[in-house]
Each structure stands twice: as C-alpha cells, then as structure tokens.
Amino acid sequence: MEYYLQLIINGLVVGSIYSLVALGFVIIYKATKVVNFAQGEMVMAGAYICFALTVQYQIPFALAFVMTLAFSVLLGLLIERMVLRPLIGEPIISVVMVTIGLSSILKSLVQVFWGTQIRVFPSILPQEPFILMGLPIAPVYIAAFGLCILLFAIFSLFFKYSSVGIAMRATAFDQQAAQSMGIGIKNIFALSWCIAAVVSSIGGIILGNINGINSQLGHLGLKVFPAVILGGLDSLLGAALGGLIIGVLENVCEGLARELLNLGGFKEVASFVVLVIILMVKPHGLFGTEEIERV
C-alpha cells in the first residue's frame, strides 16, 4: 500500500511539472494555434541556464532563478520575433515544422555547451524528508508541487481578471475581432511565447533540482502531448489536470508492471495508451471546447 501511495505522490509531483509545461504549450496554442514542438527544449534551455548560473558561475540560487526567468522572457521574445512573426499568415504546417527545427537547434546548442552527461544541481533544500501521514516525502517534492499550484493560481487570476489576460483569451477566440478592439495581437503573440518560455524554464529548474538534467530532457515535451490532448488542447484547467493524471498514471502503471509482471518500461507507453482510450470516448479531451451552439 505504502509503495503505491509513494508512487502516487511521485506521480503528482512529476505530473505537476508536466502541467506547468503543458500550460505553456496551451497558451501558445490558444493564442496562435501553433503546436509548439520545441516546448520540451524550452524546458531544457531554462534548466541549463539556471544550472550554468548556479554551478558554473556560483551565483546564489535565488538570484540565478530570477536571472533564468529574465533569460526565458528574452528567449520567448526572440523565438516569436525571429522565427514565428515572419511566418504569420503562412500555412500552420510550415510553422509547426519550424518549431520542430527550433527544437533541434536548442538541443544542439545545449549539447555544444554542456555535453550530454547528467548534470546535478546543488541541493538547495534540506534532504531530511518530511513525514506526512507516515510517508517520507522529500522537501523538494513539496516545494515543487506547491510552486506549480501557486503558478496555476496566478495564471488563473491573470486570465480571469486582468485586462491583458482577457485580451489574450479574446485573441484566442477571434484574432480579427480582437484587432478591431484595438488589441495589438502581435504583442499578445509575443507575450504568449514569453509566458510559455517562463513556465517551461521553471519546470526545467524544478526537474533539475529533483532528478538532475541531461540533454535528453527535451523528451519531456513529448509527455506533454498526452497531457494537453487529454485535457483538451485549449483549456488551462485541462492542462493542469491532464498533467497530473499523466504523471500519476505513468508512475502507477510502471509500479504495477514491475510488481506484478516484473516488467519495466511501462512508464513511456502507459500515458499514450490511456490517451487513446480517452479520446475514443471524448474526442475534444476532458475539458476542450466544443463550439458553443445556439438554438
């Protein structure tokens, strides 16, 4: 029993990181209809920058964290400006291909600068586990989960109450109508990429603190697909729950397979199997919008 509880907790923590990355993915998709295949590499870029600042330049973690976020904003702006803005109006498939290219570029850059071996962040939180209802939980897990929840809360408020957040939702619904309101949609696009880059970096930094990082970290981007599709490509709540569900599922499936069948490697497929089943029942995902139909 305890074994499974532990699996679930691990799943929730990893899942909350998936949620965060999925949030970035969904924001870009909603605002620009671009499926960003470089999302995982944005996670990786943030993680490596933070690693370089803390380990190689010995900058205190808190400061390094803030600097990494600033870097992510720049990265988001740069990608939007250099890569995507020239493609406005081009077929969506071209744009998607470009994000795939972008993912290779980011990955190669990381390998050029930092190689392919695993890098470990210095531990910033105490190692002594917390005991919650008899279960030992690493403080970094609690911090990770808490941070993800906090970020989701902030973004929910942002999209619900701030002018810019509402404008982003309006732009997602109808770009031309948004323009007719005086909303600068190019700024909205740029902002979407910045937010996506920032949340991805935070995800990367958290992962680095839990597991360490290597140049394969970008594969995380693939995990985000089942999460967002499960949640419904355009729903923030869906991204949050989709990420958590995928995280828990893959950990529990892996654990079950190991215990009962003595097999490993289920982690990678479990989420995709469940995804297929759910989509057969609910093709728009759990929370995706079906068009409003008036009668």
Binding site: G89, S163, I166, A167, R169, A170, F173, D174, Q175, Q176, A177, A178, Q179, S180, M181, G182, I183, G184, T289, I292, R294
Partner: protein, 265 residues
C-alpha cells in the same frame, strides 16, 4: 466640418481582385452617414480600409487617400486607428463567445484608461439594460439581438469619435432593428459620436441618416441627403422595392440618371 474624407480609394485583395475602384465619400463631424449597396458592392471593404482591418485579409489600399480630421491615415494598424478614435463594429457581430458579457465589454475598453471603466460600463448598461442582466453570462449563449447590443456596447466602451457600423440589422427581427437604430441615434446625439453606417436595410438607414451614399461595384453611384434619397424614385425602385410601373430597369440606368442630374445641376 469633415471628420472623414475618402478620395479615389482603390482596394485590391490578394494582389489581383480589384474591389474598390476609386471610391470617394465624406463624413461630416457629428453626422450619421450611411453607405448602402447590394451584396458584394464593397461596403465592408470600405470600412475595413478605413479602420485598418484589411491588413489581416491580404487586402491593400493601392491608391487614394483617407483623411481623418484632415490628416492622411492610410496603412495604419487597426490598434492605432482605435487609439485615434475610429472603432469598427464588424459585420456579423463577432463577439467573443467564450467570454462573459462583461469581459467582452472589457475588451472594448482595452485602449481606454482603467479609471474610466466603471463610468463607461454604466453608460453601456443604461443604453442596454439587457446587458446588465446578463453580464456574467457567456456571450455565446445570448440571442442574436443581444449579441448585436453587446457588439455596439463594446464600441461605446472605446469612446470613439467615429463609429463604423457594419450591418447592425443583420438577421434581426424588425422590432429589434428599430430598437437598435434608436440607440445608435441616441449614441450619436448624446455622446457626439459620428457614425458611418453600412446597411442593407435601406429604408431604416436612410430615415436615420443625415446623408447617404449608394455604391455599386466598388464605386459610389449616387449620394444625397437621407430624406432626398428616401424619396428618390430610383432609390425607391431599386432599394426600397417600390415600383413605379414600366419595364424593369437595371442599375446602369441609375448611373445614367446620376449623370443626367450632374449635367443639369
């Protein structure tokens, strides 16, 4: 004083389709001016050329000038035109269906300072009490008439000087059309907003408007005071469905009439 003056405007879509072929019109400050014409005449295109919304449709103004307050303003982006006081209510209402009524209104107020928000909101709710009742409802679930009110409400939030209204009567029951037009008139009078109104419903539009233009195929073919056009036999025959007997005439005759009128006048 002229608020908006369009001279010999030509608009091309996709670099090939010439839709406006030298259109000229003038909108006096404080007036309601209407632009009438059959489907596909280029009315919406004219409004989009003024507001800058052509940009996203691969349309270009290839020649001509648009003077706003006496200054040329071609090739401005739509967000700049909104900030200059020109607001277009697009054809088909184009409300943000998965936003609430009040969130839609906040979008209209996007370019306005936050401190004016509540006064403007109150203004909109006074013009359209029905929007107040539904302010937390998703806009997509409202009736067509309520959506049109919301679309006009959004424009009031932007405090425009020149309001471009594209077929506000589209798909509405006659009674509702009257209600909407009454409010347009009120907004014109009380807020001092100049209105350029595109309509299919020629009778309503002409009885409301100070001045009217009739366009066909990308050009203005006739213009005059609202009341004059309303009683003009050609307009009555072609746009108001009143017959004066005799064989069916084509639009070309209207142009002859116009030419004749010019020579005589």
């Amino acid at each position: 004083m002229s608020l908006l003056n369009v001279q010999n405007l030509e608009v091309v879509y996709n670099d090939v389709v010439l839709v406006l072929k030298g259109l000229s019109l003038n909108v006096e400050k404080g007036s309601i001016t209407t632009l009438l014409g059959a489907n596909g005449a280029g009315k919406s295109t004219t409004l989009k050329a003024i507001s800058g919304l052509l940009e996203g449709e691969d349309g270009k103004a290839t020649s001509g000038t648009i003077l706003y307050k006496g200054k040329p303003m071609s090739s401005k982006s739509p967000e700049k035109t909104v900030r200059q006081g020109i607001f277009q209510v697009m054809e088909g209402r184009r409300i943000f269906e998965d936003l609430t009524v009040e969130e839609n209104l906040r979008c209209g107020a996007y370019t306005q300072p936050a401190k004016n928000f509540s006064t403007n909101l109150e203004k909109v709710y006074t013009y359209f009490p029905r929007l107040r009742e539904r302010r937390t409802q998703l806009a997509g679930y409202m009736s067509g008439g309520e959506q049109q009110m919301l679309a006009i409400g959004r424009s009031v939030m932007a405090c425009p000087e020149l309001l471009l209204l594209d077929e506000p009567s589209l798909g509405l029951a006659p009674l509702l059309v009257e209600e909407i037009f009454d409010i347009v008139k009120k907004i014109n009078k009380e807020e001092g907003v100049t209105v350029l109104l595109v309509e299919q419903n020629a009778r309503m539009a002409l009885s409301l408007a100070d001045y009217g233009y009739i366009m066909e195929n990308g050009r203005i073919v006739m213009d005059g005071k609202g009341s004059e056009l309303l009683h003009n036999p050609d307009v009555q025959e072609f746009y108001l469905g009143l017959s004066h007997g005799g064989e069916k005439r084509s639009y070309r005759d209207v142009k002859h009439y116009r030419r004749r009128k010019r020579w005589l006048g």
